[in-house]
C-alpha cells in the first residue's frame, strides 16, 4: 500500500513534492560537467577478458603500439615525383615533432627501413632519408620501392598513386589532438594530393563526437517531437509539460548518477536519454485514464485517486517488466551493454516513482476548466481513434480462427527469414558511407594491403625455434596460403626479412629470394639486419628469444568473419603441413571476432533470460500462467516478424540490434499487460459474466479505451525514436528503425491478436 500513501502524500503536499524534485534534479545536474566518453571498442569486453589479456601480452611481446594513426597520401598522377615526395618529407618531419607521437617508430618513406645492395655494399637504413632532388633519385626510389616486396602494399600502392605514413602513438597520448594537428599539417601543403587521416584513434574520436551529437542534438529533438505529439493528443500545455518534465527529471537523475558514479558514456548509454524519454510515455496511461475519469466524475482529486487506483497495478507491472528487461542486460558479457542495462533499469524505477508522486502532484495544479475542455473529446464512443481501434479488435474477436491462421502463416515466413540472419559487427560500417572515416578506409583498402589488422602468433615452445629453416619456410608457406584468400590483402613476417637479406647479400639475385639452408645462416642474417635496423623492425615480428613469431595479416574488411576465415585457413595449413608449433590469433581483427561471438552468445542468453523473466512477471501479474501465455503471443510475434525482416533484408545483426531484441521484450510486453489487466478489471466491474457476448463486448471496450492509451504510447515511443533514423551513426539508425517498427507492430498485434486469442481460449481462460 506504499504506492497509495505516496499518491495521497503527493496530492496533499504537491508543492513539497515538486520542490523536492527540482532540488534533486539540480543536485544531479551538477555532475554533468564531469562527463567522459569511452569510444574504445576494446572496452566492449572487460579488462580481464581472455582476449584483452592475450592481446595485451602480444602487444608487449612484440613491442606493438595500441594506437596508430595512418596518414594516406594519394595523387592521381602518382606520388613518385619530386613535388609530392617533398611534401611527404615535410609532412613526416612535422609529424615527428608532434607531442605524443612515438617518433622512433613512425614509418613512412623517410623513416621506414629498407634493405638494399648498391655497388656491392649492403645498405640497411631509411628508404628516403631526404626528398629527392633529381629525377634520377626519384627513379632510384621507384626502383627501391617496387624492388622490395616488404614495401609494396605497405608504403606504396601497386599503381604508385598512394602512400601511407604510419604514426604510432605513445601510451596515453591524445589521438584526437594529434589527428587534428596532422590535419593542420597536411592542410598547409598546397597541391593536388589528397590526404586521408585514419586509424583507430580517429575513428574513436569521430565516434565520440557523434555520440555527443546524439545526446546533445538528437535527444532534444526527440523530446520536442514527443512534446508536440502529446500536445496534439491532449491539447493541454500543462499536461504536455508535465510529461516532458517527468521525462527530463528522470533523464537527469539517471545520467547524473551514471556520470557521478564515474562511468564513462559508451555508444549504448548515449542512447539512454531517448530510451528514458520513450519509457516515460508509459505515464500516458495515467493521463489517458484521468481524462476519461474526469469526464465521468468532474471531480479532480477524486479522478486522480481513482485513476491511480485503476492504473497502478498495470503501471507497476509494466515498469517491473521494463526494468527486468533492462536488468537482464546486467548478465551480459559486454561492458557497455551491462552499464546501459543498469542505467535504464534505474531510470525506469525513477520514472515509476514519479508516476506515483510527481504526476499526481502536478495534476492537482491543472486548472479544472482546461481539463474539462480537453476531456470533452475523450470519449470512447465518439472518438475516431477509439472507433478505429474498436474495429481492429472486432476483426480479431469475431474471426479469431482466421486471424490466428494468418498469424501462423506470417510466423512461418518470419522464421524462414530469421534463419538467414547473420551476426556481424563491422565497426567501420557503423559510420555512414559518406563519413570521412569510411571514405578514408575505403580508399586505403583499395590502394594498400588492408586496414583491419590481425596477427597469428606462432609459438615453437623453445628458444631459437624460429631460426630453423623449416620453421621459416613454414611461416612463408602459411603466408602464401593466406594470401590466396580474397579477404587477405597482405601478410608480413620475419621470414620476409630473412629472404630479403638473403637476396640482397647475393647482389639482388632473385634465385636467393628464399629462406637459406641453415639455422646459423638465418641467425646471422637477422643479426646483421638488427645491427642497422630500428629495434622495432624485428621486435614487431619475432620475440627476443626467437620462440614466437608474429605474422601480420592485413584484412581488406572489418567484418568479424574475415578473421575466422584466416584462423580456419591457418588451421587447414597446419593440418596439411604439421609443425611442432601452436598458432594463436590476436590483434584487433581477432578481438572483433571474439566480441562478435560474445554478442551472439549474449543475444541467445539475453533473449532466454528475458523470456523467462517476462513470463514470470506476467504470470505474477495475472496470477495465471494461461493469461501470461496469451499476453506473450503479440510480443513473440512482433519480435519474430522483425527478425524475419532483418534476415530477408540481409542487414548485419550487430550489437545494438541484439541488445534491442532483448530489451524489446520488456518494453513491448507493456501493451499486453495494460490490455489484459484492464480487460479483466472491466469484466469484474461489469458483473463478472464471461459468456461470449460479454467477453467480446469487454474486449472491444478495452481496445477502444485503454487501447487508445496503448496506441498513444506506441505512437509517442515511435515518434521519439524516429529521430534516430536520421542519426549520424548506423547503429543509431538501426535502433531507431527497430524500435519504431516494434512499437507500432506490437501495438497493432496486441489490439488484433489478444481479442482473437481470448475468444479462442475463452473457455479455458475463464473456467
Amino acid at each position: 500500500m506504499f504506492k497509495f500513501s505516496l499518491v495521497e502524500f503527493s496530492i496533499r503536499r504537491p508543492k513539497r513534492v515538486i520542490w523536492a524534485t527540482v532540488a534533486l534534479v539540480l543536485l544531479f545536474l551538477t555532475q554533468f560537467p564531469r562527463i567522459q566518453t569511452d569510444t574504445n571498442p576494446k572496452h566492449m569486453l572487460p579488462e580481464t577478458s581472455d582476449v584483452r589479456l592475450w592481446n595485451d601480452e602480444v602487444d608487449r611481446t612484440f613491442a606493438l603500439y595500441e594506437d596508430t594513426i595512418v596518414v594516406g597520401v594519394a595523387n592521381d598522377t602518382g606520388v613518385l615525383n619530386r613535388e609530392t615526395l617533398g611534401r611527404i618529407a615535410r609532412i613526416t618531419d612535422e609529424i615527428l615533432k608532434l607531442e605524443g607521437v612515438a617518433s622512433r617508430d613512425v614509418n613512412g618513406f623517410t623513416t621506414i627501413t629498407n634493405v638494399t645492395v648498391e655497388a656491392g655494399t649492403l645498405k640497411v637504413g631509411p628508404l628516403m632519408p631526404g626528398a629527392p632532388k633529381t629525377e634520377a633519385e626519384v627513379e632510384a626510389l621507384r626502383g627501391a620501392l617496387f624492388g622490395n616486396p616488404l614495401l609494396v602494399d605497405r608504403v606504396i600502392s601497386k599503381d604508385g598513386k598512394t602512400t601511407a605514413i604510419y604514426v604510432p602513438l605513445e601510451k596515453g597520448a591524445n589521438g584526437a589532438v594529434i589527428a587534428d594537428k596532422i590535419r593542420a599539417i597536411v592542410a598547409g601543403e598546397k597541391g593536388t594530393e589528397r590526404y586521408y587521416v585514419a586509424g583507430d584513434p580517429v575513428a574513436r574520436d569521430t565516434f565520440g563526437a557523434e555520440m555527443f551529437k546524439l545526446m546533445g542534438i538528437f535527444s532534444p529533438i526527440a523530446g520536442m517531437i514527443m512534446f508536440i505529439a502529446i500536445q496534439l493528443m491532449f491539447r493541454n500545455l500543462s499536461l504536455s509539460f508535465t510529461m516532458m518534465g517527468v521525462a527530463m527529471a528522470a533523464i537527469i537523475l539517471s545520467m547524473g548518477t551514471l556520470i557521478g558514479a564515474g562511468f564513462p558514456v559508451h555508444i549504448m548509454s548515449s542512447m539512454a536519454p531517448v530510451f528514458l524519454m520513450a519509457i516515460a510515455t508509459d505515464s500516458i496511461h495515467i493521463f489517458n485514464e484521468f481524462y476519461f475519469r474526469y469526464r465521468e466524475k468532474h471531480d479532480k482529486l477524486a479522478a486522480i485517486r481513482e485513476t491511480m487506483a485503476a492504473v497502478s497495478r498495470p503501471v507497476r507491472f509494466t515498469a517491473l517488466a521494463t526494468t527486468a528487461g533492462f536488468a537482464v542486460l546486467l548478465f551480459m558479457n559486454i561492458v557497455p551493454v551491462q552499464v546501459f542495462g543498469g542505467l535504464i533499469a534505474f531510470g525506469t524505477v525513477v520514472l515509476r516513482l514519479f508516476s506515483f508522486s510527481l504526476i499526481p502532484a502536478i495534476l492537482t495544479f491543472v486548472k479544472e476548466e482546461k481539463i474539462a475542455k480537453a476531456a470533452q473529446n475523450e470519449s470512447a464512443e465518439l472518438d475516431r481513434t477509439a472507433r478505429f481501434l474498436r474495429r481492429i479488435a472486432e476483426v480479431g474477436a469475431t474471426r479469431p480462427l482466421v486471424t490466428a491462421l494468418v498469424g501462423l502463416a506470417l510466423v512461418a515466413a518470419a522464421i524462414a527469414g530469421a534463419a538467414q540472419i547473420h551476426v556481424n559487427n563491422n565497426l567501420v560500417a557503423w559510420f555512414k558511407p559518406s563519413s570521412e572515416i569510411r571514405v578514408a578506409d575505403t580508399a586505403m583498402n583499395q590502394a594498400l594491403g588492408g586496414t583491419s589488422l590481425g596477427y597469428l602468433v606462432v609459438n615453437g615452445g623453445e628458444a631459437e625455434f624460429l631460426k630453423r629453416p623449416e620453421a621459416m619456410r613454414w611461416l612463408e608457406g602459411l603466408q602464401r596460403h593466406l594470401e590466396t584468400m580474397p579477404v587477405v590483402g597482405k601478410t608480413f613476417s620475419v621470414a620476409d626479412y630473412v629472404k630479403r637479406i638473403n637476396r640482397v647479400l647475393h647482389d639482388d639475385d632473385p634465385k636467393f629470394d628464399a629462406v637459406p639452408e641453415t639455422a646459423d645462416t638465418v641467425g646471422q642474417y637477422l643479426f646483421l639486419f638488427s645491427m642497422s635496423a630500428k629495434p622495432a623492425d624485428l621486435d614487431n615480428v619475432v620475440d627476443p628469444t626467437f620462440q614466437k613469431a608474429n605474422l601480420w595479416v592485413q584484412l581488406k574488411t572489418w567484418d568479424a568473419e574475415a578473421m575466422r576465415q584466416v584462423i580456419h585457413a591457418a588451421q587447414a595449413y597446419q593440418d596439411a603441413h604439421p609443425l611442432a608449433a601452436t598458432v594463436k590469433p590476436a590483434g584487433i581483427a581477432y578481438f572483433n571476432l571474439v566480441w562478435n561471438d560474445e554478442v551472439l552468445g549474449d543475444l541467445v542468453l539475453g533473449l532466454g533470460l528475458a523470456l523467462v523473466v517476462v513470463f514470470i512477471i506476467l504470470a505474477l501479474d495475472f496470477r495465471s500462467a494461461k493469461w501470461a501465455l496469451v499476453a506473450y503471443v503479440p510480443l513473440l510475434f512482433t519480435i519474430l516478424l522483425i527478425y524475419g525482416v532483418v534476415g530477408f533484408v540481409g542487414k548485419d545483426f550487430d550489437m545494438p540490434l541484439s541488445v534491442m531484441s532483448t530489451l524489446s521484450l520488456g518494453m513491448a510486453v507493456d501493451f499486453s499487460i495494460h490490455f489484459i489487466s484492464r480487460l479483466r478489471q472491466r469484466l469484474v466491474e461489469s458483473g463478472g459474466a464471461t459468456d461470449e457476448a460479454a467477453v467480446r463486448e469487454a474486449l472491444l471496450w478495452t481496445a477502444a479505451r485503454p487501447g487508445k492509451g496503448i496506441l498513444r504510447n506506441a505512437l509517442l515511443f515511435a515518434a521519439a525514436f524516429s529521430v534516430m533514423l536520421f542519426a549520424p551513426l548506423t547503429p543509431y539508425m538501426a535502433v531507431g528503425a527497430f524500435i519504431v517498427s516494434m512499437m507500432l507492430i506490437s501495438a497493432l498485434l496486441t489490439i488484433l491478436y489478444l481479442p482473437a486469442l481470448v475468444m479462442l481460449g475463452r473457455k479455458r481462460l475463464f473456467d
Binding site: 605513445e170 631459437e464 637459406p516 642497422s532 635496423a533
Partner: protein
C-alpha cells in the same frame, strides 16, 4: 686545416690539465672528455658483454672482443675490430669499422655461415649498435664540431666534481635534440649523460657505473644506456680490458676479418 687545429689543441692538452685555474669552455671540456673516454692508449682490447634488457626484464646477450687502434691523435681516425661470441649462432661473425671523424665510416661484416665479407653502408651513425640502446655514435663518438657546447655549471655526481656541458647539434642529423654531459673534473670521463629528443622530452640516459684504472688509465668498465621512452636498456661490462698491446695495423683488413689471429680475439 681543421686537423691542424686539432693537433695543436691536443698537443696543448697536458698544459691545460696541469693548470687547474684554467677556465674551460664547454667545447674544451667535451674535447678532453672524448680523448679520455674514446681515445686513451695507442690501442685497446676488451671482452665486451652487452645485456640488452627490455622493459619486462627479458635479456639478450651480445658478447664480443673489441679491439681498437688509433691511427692519429685524439679526435682523429680509428680502427675497430669486433669478433662475436654470443649469441651462439653468430659466433665467428666479425665486424670492422674504419672510423673517420669528418666523413662516413667504412664498415665490413664477415658472415661465416655463407663465408662472405660484405661491405656495409654507414649512412646512419644514429642507428643502434648491434641492437643495443647505444648508437654507433655513442660507442665510437660524435664529431665535436657537429654540436655547440656550453659549459652550464659544475656539479657533483656522487662524490666526483663534474663539469656539466650542454651540447646542441648544429645540423638536423642527430637523433637527439640536445644532450647534457656530466664530465669528471679529475679524469674527464663522462659519468652521466642525458639526451633529450627533438621535442625536448627525456630520451636516453647514460651512466658510467664503474671506473677503474687499467695501466693507470681511468677506464669506464661498466656502463648503462637506458631508453627512457621505451624502458629498454643496455648494460655493458668491459672485461679483461688492456691498453697498448701493440696491435698491428694489418689486423684491420678483410683477410683477418675472415680468420682473425687467436691471440687477439680470445
Amino acid at each position: 686545416m681543421k686537423r691542424w687545429w686539432i693537433r695543436i689543441i691536443v698537443a696543448l692538452l697536458p698544459l691545460v690539465l696541469a693548470s687547474q685555474a684554467w677556465a674551460f669552455t664547454g667545447e674544451e671540456v667535451m674535447r678532453k672528455s672524448q680523448a679520455a673516454f674514446l681515445y686513451p692508449g695507442k690501442d685497446f682490447k676488451a671482452r665486451v658483454v652487452m645485456k640488452l634488457i627490455n622493459k619486462d626484464g627479458q635479456e639478450r646477450v651480445r658478447e664480443m672482443t673489441m679491439l681498437r687502434k688509433n691511427t692519429g691523435d685524439a679526435g682523429g681516425d680509428q680502427k675497430y675490430f669486433m669478433y662475436f661470441f654470443q649469441p651462439a649462432d653468430v659466433k665467428e661473425m666479425a665486424f670492422m669499422i674504419h672510423k673517420y671523424p669528418a666523413r662516413d665510416d667504412d664498415r665490413w661484416m664477415f658472415i661465416p655461415a655463407i663465408n662472405m665479407v660484405k661491405r656495409i653502408a654507414a649512412q646512419d651513425k644514429r642507428s643502434s649498435f648491434v641492437g643495443s640502446d647505444f648508437t654507433y655514435e655513442d660507442v665510437s663518438g660524435r664529431d665535436i664540431e657537429d654540436d655547440t657546447h656550453a659549459l652550464e655549471r659544475e656539479e657533483k655526481v656522487g662524490s666526483r666534481d663534474c663539469y656539466v656541458v650542454k651540447s646542441t647539434p648544429k645540423g638536423a642529423d642527430a637523433d637527439f635534440g640536445s644532450k647534457t654531459t656530466w664530465v669528471d673534473k679529475a679524469n674527464f670521463l663522462p659519468l652521466k649523460e642525458e639526451q633529450s629528443d627533438k621535442k625536448g622530452a627525456r630520451y636516453k640516459q647514460f651512466s658510467a657505473d664503474e671506473v677503474t684504472n687499467v695501466k693507470s688509465i681511468p677506464t669506464v668498465v661498466k656502463r648503462t644506456m637506458k631508453n627512457l621512452q621505451t624502458g629498454h636498456r643496455t648494460e655493458v661490462a668491459y672485461l679483461k680490458t688492456d691498453y697498448d698491446l701493440g696491435i698491428e695495423d694489418s689486423l684491420f683488413s678483410e683477410r683477418f676479418l675472415r680468420q682473425p689471429p687467436r691471440k687477439w680475439v680470445e
